[in-house]
Amino acid sequence: MSETMLAVRRMTKRFGGLMAVRQVTLEIPQGAIASLIGPNGAGKTTFFNCVTGFYTPEEGDILFRGASIKGLRADQIAWRGIARTFQNIRLFGEMTALENILVGMHPRLKGGVLAALTGLHGGEERRAIARAMELLEFVGLAGYGDYPAVNLSYGLQRRLEIARALASNPALLLLDEPTAGMNPGETDEMMVFIRRLRDELALTVFLIEHDMKLVMGVSDQVSVMDYGQKISEGTPAAVQSDPAVIEAYLGTVSHTMMEEFDETPLPPEARG
């Protein structure tokens, strides 16, 4: 494919004596859907937190569209076009669904104190609300705009969190376990939805996921982490048959999960 959206070079993040991420190198081409999998505690969320500026890695470099973003603050990284969701939903509970999305637009709006006081940002504000309504509709939340986020159901909150991330018009979207806590039906919808994100919004999507069916179904590229290290990478088919991956999963995860991992039928494009 064309340009590289995200390139992580030999990144290491330590917590005291614990190396949560160890010398990980990883590249995501523009327009790809990439997945990061691995047992619990493998360091996946920590990896995301380093990329989005919540942690500064001790070693290595992070390049976003060719420029280093290592050491930048989370808000600066958001301004540059990386948006994310969280493993445990972190919406602004008292604010309405629409306001949550408007906060997501923060980097794309200009109005400061003076604009607010003089009312000069009225046009921008109206356009922002219109755009937020579109986003609500896009994620299937039309009609819920005025509900406080806490009052939404779990599934709707997950979608709202994605809509909020989309609001900043990011180039790269990081999703941390988007289907956690969802039933199989909702998970299938999420799979379709993630494809739409790439196809309709031309986004590059990078997701952490435990549901193998979804991972194998949508990913162009799968990376596997265990104990902070990247142990495998490639197409879903290649990863699925990698002995190192099977080893890692056998060592830590229950057999039922392994079975699911084995039985997941590969989508045609992944096989070919």
């Binding site: 808000d75 969280f86 008292e94 906060v103």
Partner: protein
């Protein structure tokens, strides 16, 4: 292992005994601090009802209410038993204390320990006047029966409709407030005037309401016509000699303001009142209620003025007036609410604007009627409203628990005082010949006589600088705590508040800040219009400074509403909800926090400048941590982040205690109880902010 416990009998609610116990502890403390004895000297209704009986009913009734309230669905017998048990037991505790006091040989020991204690038994304060031989029987027995009776009554009342209950409680509370303040509020308005106003308002309302198919303009015209008619009648009456000492409208000349106006202004006022009545038929529900309550309040003021003091008849009338103005509009409400909802959006905006303008007009003329004392209280309330709005930016929006808000208040006050008053700084700027031989006080004396003193600047020039100074100081203070979270942040800001106060009274800063003597006298603000041929207005009294405060409050409300609905306000609220998520959404936490620091400090600085100019002097002791706590409490009670909440909170926590100076030492106690009760009943505050409805287009539009 759980200890086996004997289950309580089925009829006894699990709340009854614990609630009674806690209430009994409070009751014992209150009694030992001499509350009943002290309150006995304060009449609510002259010669009939003293404050100690009101206190008695509250101390017995409130716990009983909390006991019977959860039992609302229980059978009557169970409610009665629990309520009577609670009230009766509490009264028994009280009776025991009275009995012990009566059997002591002397109460000197008691008074030695509890210095405010006043004897209860000799005068039979709580025993219907029975003392001596009759103290125990029937006196104390009656007391206990009273307690049980109150509990039982509440047990029955708990089933009454909410509207009736709240009406009863609010009317009774207003009666007590009126009774205690009778002397100060007697001079608000005379009865004939109040009645003229009420009739004009109702006339406008009635015409507009029952006008066939009345749109906004027809209603307005009807209301104005009603006002004209009223004006004409008053004119006839006045010309017919009704204002003569024995005339129909004759009233206390000292308070007659409206009727003695020249003809044209009087007519205009009445037309406006008629118009207001007409607009009320279209007002939003809350405004509709408020409008009628205001009208009722005026009549109650008038009745009080007519009778001179709160006697039995006045009390009964006051109670009826308030009950009426609370209940009657409820009956009118559905129609008004429907009409309000049916208004086309453009007209609704017009109507709302007119009503707000009307409210503003009332606010502007209020000090003329309310007199020195109450206006003073209102000034203080507005001072706290400005600070409450400022602190809301920090606590309610940005989510930063600032316990040292008084620091910014002090900085604004001192900055303004330094710039407007002779001091080390200012004397450096004045040529020595002018001040040769004058002492500090004498340099300011000129100001008292209407001359702006020898500061470098006038109040108006100093005000923006003072605001700027405290905004900058707020930001500087903010820098070291930027990275702190939650509790640590609160503690450090607490320190800032104290440090500021300590600096103001330190001996090093004495030449500049005056140490414990503070800075005084500070010249009052002067509006000098002589350049354009206008008058020179001295803002040197509570009633004139009032207008500065009104301006400040309006400015603060404007700024906060504008910011709240903007990108900045949303970023703050997001930060408060979840800092990390907000940062991930691109919110620059440092910048947003500093902005919150600066803006909230600016409002505190503004209040500080007003405060100094009103009191004409500032002293370190005005800037204690109590100020921070007061402001914080009032915004929490009102509802964090809500502007109506700040107003109601300030009226309740600052206005009421100030107005009820009668309660003296018990103000803080009542304050505490109020806080606890309010937080138990409404943890979100009295008026929590409503979610912003941005997605739904305003109702009543093309639907």
């Amino acid at each position: 292992m759980a200890i086996p416990r004997k289950p309580a009998p089925g009829w006894l609610s699990q709340h009854t005994l614990p609630t009674t116990f806690y209430a009994a502890v409070v009751l014992v403390i209150l009694t030992l601090t001499g509350m009943f004895g002290n309150f006995a000297e304060k009449d609510v209704i002259t010669g009939r009802l003293a404050l100690h009986l009101v206190a008695l009913v509250l101390v017995l009734g409130v716990p009983a209410w909390f006991v019977v309230r959860p039992l609302v669905a229980a059978p009557a017998a169970q409610r009665l038993l629990n309520g009577a048990l609670c009230g009766g037991l509490l009264a028994l505790v009280l009776a025991t204390m009275v009995f012990i006091e009566a059997s002591l040989e002397s109460i000197e020991g008691l008074v030695f320990v509890f210095q405010n204690y006043r004897p209860l038994s000799p005068a039979g304060l709580l025993t219907y006047g029975f003392s001596g031989d009759g103290l125990v029987f029937p006196g104390l027995l009656l007391l206990i029966l009273t307690g049980a009776g109150i509990g039982a009554l509440l047990a029955l009342a708990v089933r009454l409709p909410g509207a009736v209950l709240s009406t009863a409680v609010i009317s009774a509370a207003l009666l007590v407030v009126f009774g205690l303040m009778a002397l100060q509020i007697r001079a608000v308005i005379s009865l004939p005037e109040a009645l003229v106003l009420l009739l004009t308002l109702s006339g406008g309302y009635g015409v507009a309401r029952w006008l066939p198919a009345g749109g906004v303009w027809r209603r307005a015209a009807g209301g104005a016509a009603a006002g004209l008619v009223a004006g004409g009648l008053v004119l006839l009456l006045v010309n017919g000699g009704a204002l003569a000492p024995d005339g129909l409208l004759a009233a206390d000349a000292a308070v007659t303001r409206l009727l003695l106006l020249p003809e044209l202004p009087r007519l205009m006022v009445l037309v406006l009142v008629g118009l207001a009545g007409a607009l009320l038929t279209l007002a939003a529900p809350a405004l509709h209620q408020a409008g009628w309550l205001l009208a009722g309040g005026l009549v109650a003021f008038g009745v009080l003025n007519a009778s001179g003091r709160m006697n039995d008849v006045t009390a009964l009338l006051t109670l009826l007036i308030f009950a009426g103005t609370l209940l009657l509009p409820r009956w009118l409400l559905p129609a008004a609410a429907a009409d309000h909802a049916a208004l086309p959006p453009a007209q609704r905006v017009t109507v709302n604007r007119c009503i707000w303008l009307g409210g503003l007009a009332v606010l502007l003329v209020a000090p003329v009627f309310l007199g020195q004392y109450i206006t003073n209280v209102l000034d203080l309330v507005m001072l706290y409203i400005i600070m409450g709005i400022g602190l809301n930016i920090m606590v309610g929006y940005a989510g930063l628990l600032d316990l040292g808000y008084v620091a910014s208040f002090a900085i604004g006050a001192y900055a303004c005082a330094l710039l407007t008053t002779p001091s080390v700084i200012t004397l450096g700027c004045v040529d020595t010949a002018t001040v040769a031989g004058l002492r500090h006080y004498e340099m300011c004396v000129g100001a008292i006589a209407g001359w702006p003193g020898i500061g470098i600047l006038t109040f108006w020039q100093a005000l923006p600088l003072a605001i700027l100074a405290s905004a900058c100081a707020g930001m500087l203070l903010g820098i070291p705590v930027l990275r702190l979270r939650g509790d640590y942040f609160a503690i450090v800001t607490l320190g800032f508040g104290e440090i500021t106060r300590v600096i103001t009274r330190a001996s090093i800063t004495e030449p500049l800040l005056g140490s414990a003597q503070g800075i005084s006298p500070i010249p009052f603000p002067v509006i000098n219009l002589s350049a354009v041929g206008g008058p020179v207005i001295n803002l040197d009294s509570a009633q004139t400074v009032y207008y500065i405060y009104v301006g400040g409050v309006l400015l603060a409300i404007f700024v906060l509403t504008r910011l709240a609905g903007s990108r900045i306000g949303r970023a703050w609220r997001a930060m408060r909800a979840d800092e990390d998520a907000a940062e991930a959404m691109g919110v620059n936490l440092v910048r947003m926090r500093l902005l919150a620091f600066a803006l909230s400090a600016a409002f505190a600085g503004m209040s500080g400048a007003f405060f100094g100019a009103q009191l004409r002097g500032i002293f370190p002791d005005s800037f204690t941590i109590l100020v921070s706590i007061n402001v914080l409490s009032l915004i929490i009670i009102g509802g964090l982040g809500s502007i109506p909440g700040v107003i109601v909170g300030a009226l309740m926590l600052v206005g009421l205690p100030e107005a009820l100076r009668e309660l003296q030492d018990y103000r803080l106690l009542a304050f505490g109880v109020l806080l606890v009760v309010a937080m138990l009943l409404r943890p979100q505050g009295l008026i929590p902010p409503a979610p912003r409805q941005l997605a739904t287009p305003p109702a009543g539009g093309a639907a």
